[in-house]
Amino acid sequence: MSTRPDRVVSLHELAAGIPDGSHVALAGFAITRNAVAFAHELIRAGTVGLSVTQVFGGIETDLLVAGGAVDRLTYASGSLDRFGLLHAVNRALQTGRLELSEYSGLALALRLHAGGLGLPFVTTRSMLGSDLLAPLVAAGQVKQIESPFDGAPCLALPPLRPDFSVIHVDVADRAGNAVVDGPLWSIPETARASKVVLLVSEEIVDVGELDPSRVTIPGSLVHAVTHVPRGGHPTAVYGRYDYDAGHLRSYVAAASAGAEEHDAYLDRFVRGVSTFDEYLALAAA
């Protein structure tokens, strides 16, 4: 009889599989559904030199930048909504420590979409006339072209294929078929574009327990899945838990105070613990 693969690994194994210098796509959105447990583990692993792509940057990317793991960022925006900005990201951009490729949200989602489908390139009207355009054209990441059909000016963008993506999901089966509840923003495109798809899941079930009509990311695309309940804390996971407003406020207070204060936060909450459960206990204290 045919068999189903078992793709369940530990969080440690999942993070350890990402070499220094990799291109990692993240799929949280501001204060929602960030792969925080993964970001913590990667910081503890001492991984460096990453290129990170995230359409709408959130705390996972800010943590990785604060932890010194990231050399290059590709994004369309980043914030913690009303709680504040991505201070580590912004500081690193202002000091030039972080190299930036900046797009509109749709343009970056389209690059991931093209990466997933193996399209030669994609086209859009977004970004025409804006200051986003010149640096992307200079870097060869965008070409100004005309439609071969009606001659209209438009932009061509090449496919984007990150080495890895890490996505926080609600339920996955052991073969990596995963359900994401609520709004999906660029999650499907991020998964499809990536050469290796890694999932952090609130719940893990056996193959056959999920309704296939509800699967957001088919296991056919997934390489490994790990089980971390509440792994998105302090961000919200729709239908499961709210963001932790108090923790977000103290995070932003530390992050906005300066690099040293931000590092003290990491020393306490990330490097000072060895598992995400320890962090959750500390954060709840």
Binding site: T32, D81, S104, R125, S126, D131, P183, E189
Partner: protein, 256 residues
């Protein structure tokens, strides 16, 4: 800050912003005051206006204040969840959105605006959020309304960063650039409504208690006086204020 003590500047801004929403609009809204303005419009004069959020939310009807578009409270009552490609792609880039209601750090004389970074007094740059879907919305929606607090430094002949194109850029019209839609049609602040048209900006109305000259002095871009003169913005009604204070923003996160 408000020129009238019966309401705050934020309340006046939310009310004046809401009046820019027409019944039947399909609107994409950004974080903060734009949310307030859109929700207030929906509860008052524009009940069939429909909201979209770039995170992938269709037609939410939130009933409590939220911390932004990534706060699940903001998605309550949504009829469908989907992807950014559906909202910024199918709805916005596909030409199905009549209104973008957005915040800005800085606006130029043609309604182009900056949500990316500002220049400090020492010449250094301070970075904010970036475009997100803001550029897509301003590039493709039918019309754009900017909602922001009024400070002289937010109006500039040349933007620190042109995140979102307005009615023209560098002397080139939207059509010439390849962009559909009208572009920015109004900047609503806590002091005034500035209308944008093909010929540039005009001081459409000042809020109750404000004098046009004082507003002009704090708005360092060319501002025409519209045909018929600068009007007074309608004062917030008790009903509008009640909605804001009791339902939309009882903690005053955005409008205090």
């Amino acid at each position: 800050m408000s020129a009238d003590e019966r309401w705050t500047g934020g309340e006046m801004l939310a009310v004046a912003g809401s009046l820019q929403v027409q019944d039947g609009d399909v609107a994409v809204v950004g974080l903060g005051l734009p949310q307030m303005a859109a929700l207030l419009a929906q509860r008052t004069h524009a009940p069939s206006a429909r909201l979209l959020l770039e995170i992938g939310v269709f037609e939410p009807m939130p009933t409590e204040p939220s911390a932004g578009i990534a706060d699940p409270r903001m998605w309550r009552g949504a009829t469908a969840f989907g992807t950014t490609l559906e909202v910024l792609g199918v709805m916005v880039h596909g030409g199905r959105v009549s209104l973008g209601l957005l915040g800005a750090l800085q606006v130029d004389p043609w309604g182009s605006f900056n949500t990316t970074e500002v220049e400090e007094a020492d010449g250094s740059r301070r970075r904010f959020r970036g475009s997100g879907g803001g550029n897509d919305i301003s590039s493709n929606a039918g019309r754009i309304v900017i909602v922001m607090t009024h400070q002289a430094r937010k109006f500039a002949e040349t933007l620190t960063f042109l995140t979102s194109p307005g009615r023209q850029v560098g002397g080139r019209s939207r059509a010439d650039l390849g962009l559909p839609g009208e572009g920015t049609c109004a900047v609503v602040t806590d002091r005034a409504v500035i209308a944008f048209g093909p010929d540039g900006a005009a001081l459409e109305s000042v809020h109750p208690g404000e004098h046009p000259d004082a507003v002009l002095a704090d708005t360092p871009i060319p501002l025409a006086v519209p045909h018929g003169g600068t009007k007074e913005t309608p004062a917030p009604t008790a009903r509008q204020l009640a909605f804001i204070r009791n339902e939309l923003d009882p903690k005053g996160w955005y409008t205090s």
